[in-house]
Symmetry: C2
């Protein structure tokens, strides 16, 4: 008698979907994994035939969920993902969520219903509901941009990138520094990047920055910068993104001050447009293309049931402009 997944599930006392997930390289608790593995060994079940049947059912679509399409970094990583997937005969179906958490969850389920082979989710905030939904799904999910327990993910090296910038600004002698970041719900940018910056400043032994919060928006950042300039005396402004830095540059100019003569300024992102400003912005350039390619090849490995590290970090470089002066 041929052993089926149903049999394995019954004997192991787990759901059929858990067995599929196990066979499909998805997330299963170590305990359950052991149980299923044992039953498979005992029953001489051949997972390969199942895997083969799975493969023949492939749609070769990969769902990609992005919080925005008009973000410089996201759009470039998206393009790189898409191109690498295409090289491997996959087509990405991209869904925008306009940063709605609710839509992220809905899109995960929508894409599973559309029978995609895998889903790449650009994380903004990862809630318990995200984790629950992802673990209940049969479709493998890869997170980009946020570190998430129990789900494969690819993150920007936000801590070390922040550290590098903090060290650079402190190294130029700045002691009155403001960090203009974003809300902590976005763990990668709001928390980890900020902590890197603050620790990097401390590297020089004396610096503590005043921390302000704004949003990922040029105009809101400009408004906030004007408010900070009223409240604080400072010589350097470290911004959490290039867009925030561009907003700040605008505000500083409109207030009759100059970068870097009056205020030194840095960004994060490495937009090509930030090299056209006067002065050119000193910033962190995340390697968009490499990150996208890494995400695509990792997704394909997961679909092919190959082992992949649970967390992979994408690389960065410091792009030195002339927006920071020595004091």
């Amino acid at each position: 008698m041929k052993v089926t997944i149903n049999d394995i599930a019954k004997i192991a006392g787990v759901a059929k979907s858990t067995v599929s997930r196990y066979l499909n390289g998805g997330q299963v608790s170590p305990e359950t994994k052991d149980k299923i593995k044992k039953v498979i060994e005992e029953t001489n079940y051949e997972p390969n035939s199942f895997a083969r049947s799975l493969k023949s059912k492939r749609t070769n679509f990969i769902g990609v969920i992005a919080p925005a399409l008009d973000s410089y970094v996201t759009s470039r990583v998206l393009m790189a993902i898409d191109e690498k997937l295409r090289e491997n005969q996959f087509t990405s179906l991209i869904i925008n969520t306009s940063k709605s958490i609710e839509l992220e969850i809905e899109s995960l389920l929508n894409l599973e219903r559309q029978k995609v082979d895998g889903i790449i989710l650009f994380g903004t905030e990862m809630t318990d509901e995200h984790i629950n939904v992802i673990q209940s799904m049969n479709t493998p999910v890869l997170i980009v941009g946020q570190e998430t327990p129990a789900v494969h993910c690819i993150v920007f090296d936000d801590y070390n990138a922040g550290y590098e910038i903090g060290k650079y600004v402190a190294g130029h002698g700045h002691e009155k520094v403001v960090y203009l970041g974003v809300y902590e719900r976005d763990v990668a940018v709001g928390k980890v990047r900020k902590q890197g910056v603050l620790d990097g400043l401390l590297h020089e032994g004396k610096n503590v920055a005043t921390v302000y919060e704004t949003e990922f928006d040029i105009d809101k950042a400009a408004k906030m910068t004007k408010q900070i300039m009223k409240e604080q005396q400072f010589t350097a402004l470290i911004c959490a993104t290039d867009n925030i830095a561009l907003g700040a540059m605008k505000a500083i100019r409109e207030t009759g001050k100059n970068v870097p003569e009056d205020i030194s300024l840095t960004g994060f992102g490495g937009y090509v447009y930030s090299t056209f400003t006067e002065p050119r912005l000193t910033t962190i350039k995340f390697k968009h293309k490499e990150t996208g390619h890494l995400a695509a090849t990792t997704m394909i490995s997961i679909i092919n049931e190959e082992q992949v590290p649970s967390v992979q970090k994408a690389d960065f470089t410091l792009l030195e402009g002339n927006s920071v002066k020595k004091v």
Copy 2:
């Protein structure tokens, strides 16, 4: 006896899919339209019941095919389309084609197979194959960015925008003008926009520009600008996009010249980043948001079998920077 679409098709002597397309508000030749209409009247067929059954089969997905995701204008129109569709309970599934014509055709068919309710295609070049495929499909298609006979489309008002810029540059006294455009396969940007510029220059009665071609790429535009500077004497450079203008600005600077003192410069697009350059770029700002909303509501109207104009034009404004001087 209840009349079916099959009966209508047989009596009218056309394919069943043609009748669906007719009922669905899709493209049908006027002659065929008359035939089907007549048969429907004679048989007392109730298209509403068909429409209702169609509606119940809706997936509420709209496919959107874009030539690139990292284009400033495209990504902003995409966001606006997506947000307006979402307001109306539709989800867009976006496919990137990296400007491959072949992938555009494949994506049209792929999305139809995914049973989307309609497809919005950002046109780059519209070939006969595009038209043939679109007309053979049951899924309604809306083209954005290129005027296409026999398919509903929304275009930027490229001719008048070009005319406006040409008139502006000539009005500033420039007589030695270079137009740096793109290949004519892209009819909207490569042909119509260029013609607008040339006619706008002539508005002042004396101007003829030398025309060069490049691609939608900052670095290639920079390289081409350096070549033009070797070959030509000119006082103004009109560029087909802001990215081309930014590349030109870089090249002019690297050659030791200044904008606008030595060379006046204009763009097309109205990227927020072009207001951060020094000098600020004079450019045409297409209304991205309005265009996206118009595309979304038009798509929904087509799906709902409402009448929509075959060609609709999206509006623009001239953004005056300080990159053009009076000579």
